[in-house]
């Protein structure tokens, strides 16, 4: 998730001109797959639903990220990290999501440590 956030912000920074649709929104196929996970196997999702969800989730990402970015601006930091996102979720009243995300972030960091300690052997 952090990579996504960083990627999208760098993309926006690069394109001083028009913000293209593929930079402003998540890929519609991925959104459709995520929506399908929660539905029965034979359920169908209209394209309108995917586009609407695409707009909603992209706006939510910007909403949370702007809250985290505001905190970084006040603290004169340039990098938005995972803790800032967790804090932003709590600050916006999404406490029920901030806690699972902290646990995810903890496990993610443990995995990163494992990779650093055990680099893959190059053939």
């Amino acid at each position: 998730m952090m990579d996504n956030v960083g990627g999208s912000s760098s993309n926006i920074a690069e394109n001083s001109g028009i913000i293209r649709e593929q930079d402003r929104l998540l890929p519609i196929a991925n959104v459709g797959k995520i929506m399908k996970q929660i539905l029965p196997p034979n359920a169908k999702i209209s394209k309108e639903s995917k586009e609407t969800m695409q707009e909603c989730v992209s706006e939510f990402i910007s909403f949370v990220t702007s809250e985290a970015s505001e905190k970084c601006r006040k603290e004169r930091r340039k990098t938005v990290n995972g803790d800032d996102i967790c804090w932003a979720l709590g600050s916006l009243g999404f406490d029920d999501y901030a806690e699972p995300l902290r646990r995810y972030l903890q496990r993610y960091r443990e995995q990163e440590l494992d990779r650093a300690n055990n680099p893959p052997k190059r053939g």
């Binding site: 990627g7 519609i28 196929a29 999404f94």
Partner: protein, 219 residues
């Protein structure tokens, strides 16, 4: 309130299976429900006097009330809500032990924050939002307005991303029903068609987006 609690259970399950994106999806639903503070606070208050099952039943009518205020949001909760309802029935007992503290907590929150009226461009009724999100919403409104004024072209949604791929798709041979002639891809596209109601442009969009997905992950 019950909806929030079921969402929490779902989020926990998703985190256990490490499907993090799905929690984003549910978080979005949370945001939408938060933006209609009236149903939430009413739900929290009404819970004191009504049993769990009744509250579960009362929520749809309150969502209907929310629908009257904000019609566009009506279609979204239905499929998600239906999927939540089943596991709730399956777990009628376990949520109750958990329910004590969150109930009291949310009731207190409901009392403390009745909701802040959010100014809207239209002269209709004011929309009440979570006080914690008030400044964030205003900030995002300014950002969106700025983006729209600077780059108006961003709003147009293209039927396809790459001209060359579009032309290639036009050139491909098609069988009866308009599907591409290819034994392997027939099965793939059947899956794609099954997941979406529209046929041709959707296939193009899906294939293009699928190509984009790896690059997005890389960046």
């Amino acid at each position: 309130m019950c909806v929030d609690w079921d969402t929490v259970l779902h989020v926990n399950q998703e985190i256990m299976t490490s499907t993090h994106d799905l929690s984003d999806n549910e978080a979005d639903d949370q945001q939408q429900s938060e933006s209609q503070m009236e149903p939430l606070s009413a739900n929290g208050i009404s819970y004191a006097g009504i049993a769990t099952q009744n509250v579960q039943y009362a929520t749809p009518s309150q969502l209907g009330t929310g629908h009257a205020v904000v019609p566009p949001t009506y279609p979204y909760p239905d499929p998600y809500y239906r999927s939540i309802f089943a596991p709730y029935d399956a777990q009628t007992y376990p949520p109750q032990p958990y329910g004590g503290n969150p109930m009291v907590h949310l009731q207190l929150m409901g009392i403390q924050q009745a909701g802040v009226p959010l100014p809207t461009d239209t002269v209709e009724e004011p929309v009440f939002v979570n006080a914690k999100q008030y400044h964030g919403i205003l900030r995002r409104r300014q950002s969106r307005a700025k983006a729209e004024s600077e780059k108006k072209a961003a709003r147009n949604r293209k039927p396809y991303l790459h001209e060359s791929r579009h032309l290639h798709a036009l050139r491909r041979a098609r069988g009866c029903g308009g599907r591409f002639l290819n034994s392997k891809k027939d099965e793939n596209q059947q899956d794609e068609v099954a997941s979406t109601d529209e046929s041709q442009s959707t296939i193009n969009l899906n294939s293009d987006k699928n190509e984009l997905a790896p690059s997005d992950r890389t960046s």
